[in-house]
Point group: C2
Chain length 400, copies 2
C-alpha cells in the first residue's frame, strides 16, 4: 500500500487533473487521496459545482478518497491553505505528496522551502514588507538577493510557489511524507485558449457558464456530471447571484468587524471599510482595495470571508476532523486503516458531527453556514441543510 496525496479544487476536474492522477500511479501509488476545497475556492469564489458533485467527479476519474478542506483553510492564503490541506493528507496516512510545478523538481522546491523557513529569511522579508510591498514581492526581493543558480528564478512561477508552500507545510508538520512533483504541461491556470487539447480551469469555467462547447476538454465522467448538475439547475454556481448580498454584508461591517477577518495586517481594515462604503459593485470594491501591497486574490478571499462570517482565530490551526466526501472500495480500505490509527475524528455521515468537540463543532457549523449561503449562488437556489442530507458518494468499483 503506497498512498499518494493530492491537494485540489477540481473546479471542475479536467484533463490536467487527470494527468497528475496518472503521475501518482506512475510514482507507484496504490491509493490516491485528494484533499479538496469545499464549496468555496481559494480565489474567493463559489465553486462552479457543489463539493459533492466535484468529489464524485474526482472518484469517477480515479481518485480513491476525497476529503474536504474546511472553508476556513480553503479561503486562506497559500501558506495556510497548504498547511491545512497537507495536514489532512498526513492524517490520512499519505506517504507521497504529488503536485505539478513548472520546475518539476521536488528536491529544488524542498531546498527552497527550507531556506524560506529560516528565521533570518523571515525577519528580512518582514522588514521589506514595511516598504509597502506585497508579501510575495517582498519575499521575491530577498530571494533574488540571496540565491543564484537553479534556485534564482524558482519563485517566479505560480505552481512552484504553491509547491514550495506544500514543502514548507511538510517540514513544519514534521511528516515523513515525500514530495513528488510532476512538471506541468498544458496551459497555465488562467490561459484563455486551450493548449494541446487541455483547457485551463478558468477557460473551462467560462465555457461552461456560457454554455459553449466544453465537452472535448473534459473526460466522459466529468462531462456527465457537469451535464447532470446543469440539468438539475444545481450548476453553474455564480458569484454574481450573491453580489448584492456580499455588498450588503460589507456595507454593514464596521472597521472593527473588518479587523477580525483572517489575515488582516495593520491598516487594511480601514481600507476595506472605506472601499465597502464607496463601492457599487464587487469588482469596484476589489479595485478600491487593491494596491501594490494587497493582491487581488487576498481581497477576494477577504470579501467572501466577510460575507460568510469567517473570522481569524479559528479554534484550531489545523483542521480538527477528516470529512469524507466520496470514495471507492480502495478509499474505504484506506479509511479503515486511518480509523485504526485514530489521529483525527472521521466523518462519513453528517450525524457523526455531534460527537465532535465543541470547538471542532464550531468549524463544522461554519462549514454548514457556508454551504447554506453557497446554495443561493445556484441557478435555482437550494434550501439550507443540503450538506447534512447529502450522503457521501460511494463508487463500488475502482476506476482504471
Amino acid at each position: 500500500m503506497l498512498i499518494a496525496g493530492i491537494v485540489a479544487e477540481y473546479n471542475p476536474f479536467h484533463k490536467g487533473h487527470g494527468a497528475l492522477l496518472q503521475y501518482c500511479r506512475e510514482c507507484g501509488a496504490s491509493h490516491v487521496v485528494a484533499v479538496m476545497s469545499g464549496n468555496f475556492v481559494q480565489r474567493g469564489e463559489p465553486a462552479l459545482l457543489s463539493k459533492h458533485a466535484r468529489a464524485e467527479m474526482a472518484v469517477r476519474n480515479g481518485v480513491d478518497l476525497v476529503i474536504e478542506l474546511p472553508v476556513y483553510w480553503a479561503l486562506s492564503g497559500a501558506e495556510n491553505f497548504a498547511l491545512g490541506a497537507v495536514s489532512l493528507l498526513a492524517a490520512a496516512g499519505c506517504q507521497r505528496l504529488c503536485f505539478g510545478s513548472e520546475c518539476g523538481d521536488a528536491g529544488l522546491l524542498q531546498e527552497a522551502a527550507a531556506a524560506l523557513l529560516q528565521q533570518d529569511f523571515i525577519t528580512e522579508t518582514r522588514e521589506r514588507l514595511k516598504t509597502g510591498l506585497s508579501f510575495a514581492a517582498a519575499r521575491n526581493q530577498v530571494w533574488a538577493e540571496r540565491f543564484g543558480g537553479p534556485l534564482a528564478g524558482l519563485l517566479q512561477a505560480p505552481n512552484n510557489i504553491l509547491g514550495v508552500e506544500y514543502c514548507k507545510a511538510l517540514i513544519r508538520l514534521g511528516t515523513a511524507m515525500q514530495p513528488c512533483s510532476m512538471r506541468r504541461a498544458g496551459p497555465g491556470h488562467h490561459d484563455r485558449a486551450p493548449l494541446a487539447g487541455i483547457a485551463s480551469g478558468t477557460l473551462l469555467r467560462r465555457m461552461i457558464t456560457a454554455n459553449e462547447n466544453w465537452e472535448n476538454y473534459l473526460s466522459a465522467e466529468s462531462g456527465m456530471i457537469v451535464h447532470r448538475e446543469i440539468s438539475l439547475l444545481h450548476a453553474p454556481a455564480a458569484a454574481g447571484r450573491i453580489e448584492n448580498a456580499i455588498l450588503a454584508a460589507l456595507r454593514k461591517m464596521s472597521p472593527a468587524g473588518f479587523s477580525r477577518l483572517p489575515d488582516i495586517s495593520e491598516g487594511l481594515e480601514n481600507r476595506l471599510y472605506q472601499a465597502a462604503q464607496a463601492a457599487v459593485s464587487l469588482n469596484g470594491f476589489y479595485r478600491l482595495v487593491k494596491s501594490k501591497r494587497y493582491a487581488l486574490s487576498r481581497i477576494r478571499r477577504l470579501a467572501m470571508c466577510a460575507f460568510l462570517g469567517i473570522e481569524a482565530q479559528a479554534p484550531f490551526t489545523l483542521p480538527p476532523y477528516l470529512r469524507v466526501l466520496a470514495m471507492n472500495p480502495q478509499g474505504a480500505a484506506l479509511l479503515r486503516a486511518v480509523k485504526l490509527r485514530g489521529e483525527l475524528p472521521i466523518l462519513t455521515r453528517a450525524a457523526q458531527a455531534s460527537q465532535l468537540s465543541p470547538a471542532a463543532r464550531a468549524l463544522w457549523l461554519q462549514e454548514q453556514q457556508s454551504c447554506n449561503l453557497y446554495n443561493l449562488c445556484l441557478p435555482q437556489p437550494l434550501p439550507c441543510g443540503t450538506d447534512l442530507t447529502q450522503k457521501l458518494f460511494y463508487l463500488p468499483k475502482i476506476q482504471p
Copy 2:
C-alpha cells in the same frame, strides 16, 4: 396660521394624495406638514423612489414641509407606525390631523379609538389572541360583539382602521390636534385598474416598474421627478435586487436573533427560523411563515427588519428628532416657530446629527445603514453615505 398634518408614504405621490392635500386647504389649513416614511415603507419593501425624490415630489405638489418617519417606525405595525408619525406631527405644531377614510367621519373614528383603548377591551382582545387568531381578527371579533349601529362595520375597512390608529395615537399622546377625515374616493390601495382617473399606489408602482403609460395618473410635477429619477438610474427601486441578500441575512440568523426582532410574539421566532432555513425565495419565505395568526405584511416587515438589522427595544418609544427632507418658504417659517418651542432637535443638515444624544444618534445611524442598503435596490447601485450628502430640497416658491 392653521397647521394641518398628513401621514404619508408618497410611493409615489399621486392624485389621491393631491385630493387629501386639497382637503387640508378646504379645512382651512394655511400650512401642511407631511410625515413621510423614508426609504422603506410599511409593507416591508423599499420605496419606488428615494425619500429625497419623494419629499421633493410632495413639496412640488403643494406640501409645505416634509418630515422623515425614521425607519424603525416606518417598518412597524399600524399602531406603532401611527404613534411615531403622529408624535412628529405634534412636535411640528400641527393643529389638525387630516387623513382619508372610508367612513369620512372623524368623530366616529375617535369614538372607536377611545373604545379600543379601554383596558377591558384590550384584555378581551388578548384573550382571543390565544385562540390562534391574528390581532386584527381577534379585535374585530370583540368589536362585533360589543358594537352595533354606525360603529358595527367600521373596522372592516383598511383606511378606517388606520384612521382609528391615528385617533388612538392622538389620545395616547394627549395632544390637542384634531382629526379631520376626508371620505376616500377613487380606488382602494391595491386596486388593479384605475378608477375615475385615479390609479392606486400598487397599480402605479407596477406601471412604473414595467415602464407602461403611467403619466396620466400623476401630476406634471410628480411625472417630471419619476422621469428624472429613472433616467438617472436611481429608480425604480426593486426588492428583487436584494432578494438573495435578504435570504442570506435570514439564513445567517439564529432563533435568538429572530426573537430580538420588533413585534415578535411567543414562538414566532422558531417559525421564522424554520422558514428561513427552508425557503429558496422571499415569497416562499412569506408563504412558509404566513398563517391565520400572522399577516403577510407583518412577515414582510420582519424579513426587512432582519435584513436591515433593526431590533426591538429601540432606545425611544417615539422618534427623538425631527428631520426635514423638503420644504418651501411656508415650511421654513413653520420650522422657525417649531424651533422656538424647542420640543425636539431639528435636523435640516446631516452634520447636525453629531449634536444628538448618543441614543438618538443610534437611531440616526440605523437610518443611515438602511439608506446604504436601500441603495443596492436601485437600477444602478449608489455608494453609502448619499443620505448624508443629499441636501434637503427647498422650493423657493409656494405651489398653488
